[in-house]
Each structure stands twice: as C-alpha cells, then as structure tokens.
C-alpha cells in the first residue's frame, strides 16, 4: 500500500531547493500547489484545453451528497503529453470517466495539479510532473 502524500514529502526533502529551482519549467509547482495535500477523485470530463504552456482538463465530480463540483486539472503542455503516449481527442474525450491523482491548489479551490490519470479502461498515464519545485521556505545552501 503506497502512501503518495508521505512519499511526496520524502522526495521533496531529498530533492532540495537548490536543484529544484534550477529545473522549474514555466512556473514552479509550489507557486500554486501544495505538495502536502494530495487528492484522488473520479469524475466525468466536461472540457479539455490542449494548450500551452499547460493542458487543462475539467472534471465533474459528485460528492457524497450528490453535489457536483467541477474540478480544474493542470498538467504538461501538449508536446510533452504527445511524446509520452497521449493523443489529442483520442486518449481522453469529453464524457469519459477519469480518475485523477494530484496535489491541491493553495487557495482551496477545486483546482489541482494532475500527476497521474487513470483512464476509463484502467490505463494509467502521467499528465503532469511530480511535485517539488518552489516549495519554500527553506534556506539557500
């Protein structure tokens, strides 16, 4: 049984800021997302934006009371997705069921960094990078 939250914390601690800041592409992870708050939910895709610098997917998720919340999920740009096995309008489509694992936005809104997508057929694909950039605060080495 893996524990994504604790494993993430360990990875971040090992990575350190010095190298992580070197690596940030476009914007840091920590600028918008909280690596200590993971989320894993299942819903139905309502919209897909296959765009740079980030692809976004919107998913309707029904809670225990039957309320539907529309989540916004952020991931890699299309070029990265296409090199890692995704195909626009084929791999995921509006109306498909999607299970997503990722990290929550710092503002508490239904917005998340999508790391791993589980498709309707059970196939798992990465949709975004791991956590670990711009986590702060820490001390410059």
């Amino acid at each position: 049984m893996r524990n994504p939250a604790s494993r993430a914390a360990v990875a971040i601690a090992l990575t350190g800021w010095l190298s992580a800041a070197t690596l940030s592409a476009h914007h840091s992870f920590g600028v918008a997302f909280d690596a200590t708050k993971t989320v894993m939910l299942t819903g139905v895709i309502t919209k897909i934006a296959w765009t740079n610098p980030h692809t976004h997917v919107w998913v309707d998720v029904k809670d225990a009371n039957g309320h539907v919340v529309n989540w916004t999920l952020e991931g890699y740009p299309p070029n990265v997705l296409e090199r890692t096995g995704w195909k626009k309008d084929v791999t995921i489509k509006v109306g498909d069921t999607l299970t997503f694992f990722g990290w929550l936005a710092r503002d508490g809104s239904p917005f998340a960094h999508l790391r791993e997508a589980t498709l309707a057929d059970g196939k798992k694909l990465f949709f975004g990078p791991p956590a670990g950039t711009g986590e702060g605060p820490a001390t410059v080495r």
């Binding site: 800041a21 740079n52 919107w58």
Partner: protein
C-alpha cells in the same frame, strides 16, 4: 532436432547481434571539414536510446525527485553567491519562485534552457554557425563561429554568443545579458554575467555540456555546471506557444499573500 537447434542458434545469434547494435557506442559524426558534427535533436538526460519520459524509478502516484526527470546537472559545488546575491536567492525561495520571469513567458538563458529535459533541443551546424533551437519557449540562438562580439550589443535575456572550436569541443562565449533573468538555483543574471559554454559530442549519442558561470556582481568566484544531452532520433520539436493559455501571474501573488483569497483561480469558466 537439428533444424530446431539451428533455429534456436539463429535466434540466439540474432538476439546477440541486436544487443550488440544497441549497446555499441558509435563515434561522433564529422562534417565535411573534419569538425565534430553537433547536428541532431537531443534531450537533457543521462539515458541513451528513446525519449526519457520519466525519472528513473518513478512510479504512478508517487512524487519523484524532479531533478531526475528534468535535468542531469551534476554540479556538486554550492553556488558561490555574494552576500547580496544570496539574500536575493533566499527571497526568491521565500516567495516560492513566484517572480520567475518564465512565468511571464520570458526566455531563460542557458544552462537553464538547455537542461529542461521535458523539451528537446535541436542543433544545426554549418561551417560558420551553430544554431540551437529550443522547444522550451520556442526560441533559438544563432552562434557565429570565429567572430567577435558586436560592439552594439543590446542586453538580452539569452545574451550574445560567439563560438570557436577547441579541438573537438565547440566553445561559446556569452555576454550582454539583461539583468533580472533567472539562471540557476536562485542565481539572477546581472549585466556582468559571462558564460563559457563547452559542447563536446563524445560519441554519436552523447553531447556533453559544460558551462562556467562568472559574474563578479553576483558571485565570489566562477563555478561550473555540467549536463549530458542524449541524441533522440525520431524526436522533433513541437510548438510551445507560452502565451497561448498562460496564467495571469497576479493570481500567484494573491495566493502568496492570502492562500484563500483567490477562488477565481478556477480557469476556463
């Protein structure tokens, strides 16, 4: 029985040959004038072969060290910050890199742009120029060979580069930086920044990158970083139009000041 044995032997032979072909390190190609030919599409990665999509040992649902996925920088020395530059780096850290110019789609200088392993880099070499095309930020550098820096350099985010050959190594001398770019590990560029980049195609698959970073305004002494670029046959550069759907950086500022103040962060509605 003999036919089966022969069939099995041929399979073993074929498998051996296939292994030999994939495991053989081939020499770096040369141009007509005898220089190493840097031409090709590469990825910052330690692994040979096909596209390196994820960090070694990474698995779904687990955060891997981003360093392994995105760069192969092996610099072990701490950045020799001046006290002022260190304070600036600490401020960057405290603000979760919120002010990163790339968040506003501004180009990042090398070594940063070279080492973002998510995106390929393409080298095009002629006898008089080395042209480097970067998928990340969809930008490029044209590096003339055996010339001097122009006298009318306007400061720029990626600097002005001129190249020359030292044996089998292509060396680029880079100056003329605009202050305020983010280079590496919290080091911010000044107008005194000077890079000496060394590109060495040590074999067909591997292009070594080494950069010595000097900046008397930000550093107490020069330091060097190294990255390995691996040939990625079949990979091609794809458009990266950063401004297409870019987030307004002001939302990050709101999150920094009050993490609960920015419910409007939900996009696309």
């Amino acid at each position: 029985m003999m036919r089966i044995t022969c069939f099995m032997m041929s399979c073993v032979l074929a498998a051996s040959l296939a292994f030999a072909q994939t495991s053989t390190i081939q020499p770096a190609p040369k141009t007509a004038d005898g220089k190493p030919d840097l031409t090709g599409v590469y990825q910052a990665s330690p692994r040979r072969g096909g596209w390196d999509a994820e960090a070694p040992g990474d698995e779904p649902g687990v955060a891997a060290p981003r360093s392994a996925a995105n760069i192969n920088t092996t610099a072990s020395d701490p950045i020799p910050f001046t006290s002022e530059a260190r304070a600036l780096a600490q401020d960057i850290l405290n603000r979760r890199s919120i002010d990163d110019p790339t968040t506003r789609c501004i180009f990042a200088a090398s070594p940063r742009i070279t080492g973002v392993g998510l995106f390929p880099v393409q080298f095009v070499q002629t006898p008089t120029q080395v042209i480097i095309l970067y998928e990340y930020m969809w930008t490029h550098r044209v590096i003339p060979i055996a010339t001097k820096h122009p006298e009318d350099i306007s400061p720029s985010f990626m600097g002005d580069a001129v190249g020359h050959w030292e044996g089998n190594t292509f060396v680029a001398d880079v100056v003329g930086f605009k202050p305020g770019g983010w280079l590496t590990g919290g080091l911010v560029t000044s107008d005194a920044l000077h890079l000496t980049e060394r590109y060495t195609r040590v074999d067909r698959d591997q292009l070594n990158y080494e950069v010595t970073i000097e900046d008397p305004k930000m550093l107490t002494k020069p330091f060097t970083q190294r990255t390995t670029l691996m040939l990625r046959e079949g990979a091609r550069l794809r458009e990266y139009s950063c401004a297409e759907n870019n987030m307004d950086p002001s939302v990050y500022e709101k999150m920094l000041k009050d993490p609960t103040s920015s419910q409007s962060f939900i996009r696309g509605k």
